[in-house]
Point group: C2
Chain length 133, copies 2
DNA sequence: AGAGATTTGTCCGTATGTATT
DNA sequence: GAATACATACGGACAAATCTC
């Protein structure tokens, strides 16, 4: 359970608890998390604290908000493979808001940056891309 | 400036403003951002709103917190190249808190997951890794 | 040693808006 | 219209770490 006297912040403890449920499969992809109101009641917390926990899970890419139906466990997308040719390299980083919109990325999903041998670059959605050779 | 009546939320406008200063180089890597208190005063906002803006920049990997000295523009790290052999693939995602600690990652920095031809996987810090062939 | 200032972190409360069911 | 659920924004209070005098 959640211990207000523990070293770890309460909102982090709540995020840990929900993350465990997601990673263990108790909360399956597509399934709705308890609403913020329910979480405040079940754990005796303010809505601010609950929202901080949810923000962590969003930033980790574990959940997506389907407003105003609720917050759901993110479903895994089918991936396409991008092939690295000789001289190409790949890197990753978080997208800007504009890039997020262009690539239709959820919060907490990185972008893959392919740098071709000629110096040109291409951006790919991190949740739908694998890099191969 | 920041317009409370605009379509875009105030904290997003503030994040946009600071992001512009970072990406344009007006705020150089390693340099300190204005403190939260200063930002509340300069823009007439509550600390909650300022903190929401800062959270965006952290989640984008643009700034790191050096507490209690302040929040600074993230410096770029030298990268090592990981070589992809035949049958290997690479993907990316946000790390769990445990992985963040193990790899010493700042907020808003993804991990690179290398899946070798034999099925084994390796994790690398997204800000210090390039994938080549 | 100590006191005070600074800065971010954590937590609470309230209010209102917007979109969907 | 009512109920639900998340988003935005304000306010206050105290803690912890660091720096300055």
């Amino acid at each position: 359970m959640i211990d207000p006297n523990a070293d770890r912040a309460v909102f982090r403890q709540l995020a840990d608890l929900l993350r465990d449920r997601i990673l263990s499969g108790k909360l399956a992809p597509g399934e709705k998390l308890p609403s913020e109101l329910r979480l405040t009641q079940e754990h005796g917390l303010s809505r601010t604290t609950v929202r901080q926990a949810m923000a962590i899970l969003r930033s980790e890419g574990l959940v997506v908000v389907d407003r105003p139906r609720g917050t759901k466990v993110r479903t895994t997308e089918p991936t396409e493979t991008v092939t690295l040719r000789k001289g190409d390299t790949a890197s990753t980083r978080m997208p800007s808001p504009a890039e997020r919109r262009d690539l239709d990325l959820a919060e907490g999903v990185p972008v893959v940056v392919i740098t071709r041998a000629d110096g040109s670059t291409e951006l790919y959605p991190g949740d739908r891309t694998r890099v191969g050779r």
